[in-house]
């Protein structure tokens, strides 16, 4: 094996580990994303409780679900009831958008590629990188990033499901209930929304599934390599 081959192999390894580092960061950002989604749901519930209480204790014309949209454009239109109708759509949309933007921004800030200058030194740089590597923590990072990568995908699908469900309820209430006066079963709408999100997220989920398997493979390869590397002696 030539010096260029060794450098190239170590570059591949370091790039794979950078990817692992990104996924590990994703594990931590996933918690942020969950917090944003929970806060969004809590905001939506707060508006629902307020609107329902107003409906129960005053002449406010509607309860929140599934009537809020019709309430805003019905015969008793007020500024507030229009805001209520809008909130059904705006709160989930803003929440999910904030979550995705926050995760994306933080994800792009993860520091990677700091090894490149060392590797540019050639074989000595490659050996230096490999000797400095703490293999146990590398394996731990890969395991963590594997879980984070998969769970983030599932949380993202759940977030889209909440958003699409509200959007579907919003649209169905308008089309069936308000426009053509047919009461549509909202359970059906939610099931359809769930299937729709699964279909649209299929490629992303498949990619994550494959990536999880490839991380498993990476662990086994690295375990073998670390054993070989540990028992090898280098002559300079």
């Amino acid at each position: 094996m030539t010096e260029a081959d060794v450098t190239s192999k170590v570059r591949d390894l370091m790039e794979a580990l950078d990817e692992v580092r990104r996924y590990k960061a994703l594990t931590s950002l996933m918690v942020d994303f969950v917090m944003i989604i929970l806060a969004t749901i809590a905001s939506l519930f707060s508006v629902e409780i307020l609107v329902n209480y107003l409906h129960a204790s005053s002449e406010f014309p509607c309860s929140f679900l599934p009537n809020a949209f019709g309430c805003g454009i019905g015969s008793t239109v007020t500024g507030f009831s229009s805001l209520v109708a809008l909130s059904l759509f705006v709160i989930p949309a803003v929440g999910i958008l904030c979550g995705v933007v926050w995760v994306d921004r933080k994800f792009k800030r993860v520091k990677v590629g700091e090894w490149r200058t060392t590797l540019d030194e050639g074989l000595p740089g490659a050996v230096k990188l490999l000797t400095q590597m703490k293999w146990d923590s590398v394996f731990e990072e890969i395991q963590l990033s594997k879980i984070g990568y998969l769970v983030y995908g599932l949380v993202k699908v759940a977030g889209y499901f909440v958003f699409v469900s509200f959007l579907s309820i919003f649209a169905t209430t308008f089309v069936f209930d308000f426009a053509i006066h047919v009461i549509f079963n909202l359970d059906v709408v939610i099931v359809v929304a769930f299937v729709l999100v699964l279909v649209l997220s299929r490629k992303d989920l498949e990619k994550r599934y494959r990536q999880t398997w490839s991380l498993d493979g990476l662990i086994w390869e690295l375990r073998w390599f670390s054993g070989e590397f540990g028992s090898a002696s280098f002559k300079t």
Partner: protein, 158 residues
């Protein structure tokens, strides 16, 4: 602050919100009114509710509200009004009550009945029997004339 505590706090908040949301109840009843009709709205006293009553029909009808006010309305224009039924007491621990056809419990703390073509006011039925029962509020609306009555009661029991 540790993120885990924030998540725990949010989950706790959501649990409380779901509990509060489950204490909202809606009851809808409609039916024909002819002769003298008694609309009876019954609720536990810890429930705060709002009743939307709509009356539509071929001509004029006379309506007596729970406070005794008499109003004459032209039902051809689908007359409707809202009654505020305030909370008058705290939760007593009473979980179930049944008087004739009227039943109240924790999951159904509001009930509405419409009795058409009654012969005397107050009519001798479950509604009149439940008036005065402890922890229960009753609102009676009397409609005289031919019409179609719908009652939509929305309330919260906290």
């Amino acid at each position: 602050m540790n993120k885990a505590w924030v998540v725990f706090g949010l989950v706790l908040l959501l649990g409380i919100q779901v509990t509060v949301l489950s204490s909202f109840h809606e009851v809808y009843t409609d039916g024909p009114a002819y002769g003298t009709t008694e609309v009876c709205i019954v609720k536990w006293n810890y429930v705060q509710a709002s009743a939307r009553v709509a009356i539509g029909g071929p001509g004029s009808v006379s309506v007596t509200l729970p406070n005794g006010t008499d109003i004459a309305i032209n039902a051809t224009t689908n007359y409707s009004f809202t009654l505020n039924l305030p909370r008058t007491g705290a939760f007593s621990g009473e979980t179930g009550l049944g008087v004739g056809s009227i039943e109240l419990n924790e999951s159904s703390p509001i009930t509405v009945s419409i009795d058409a073509n009654i012969t005397s006011v107050p009519f001798s039925n479950s509604c009149s029997e439940i008036v005065g029962v402890q922890y229960v509020d009753v609102a009676v609306i009397t409609v005289v004339g031919d019409a179609f009555v719908s009652v939509d009661v929305y309330g919260v029991g906290l």
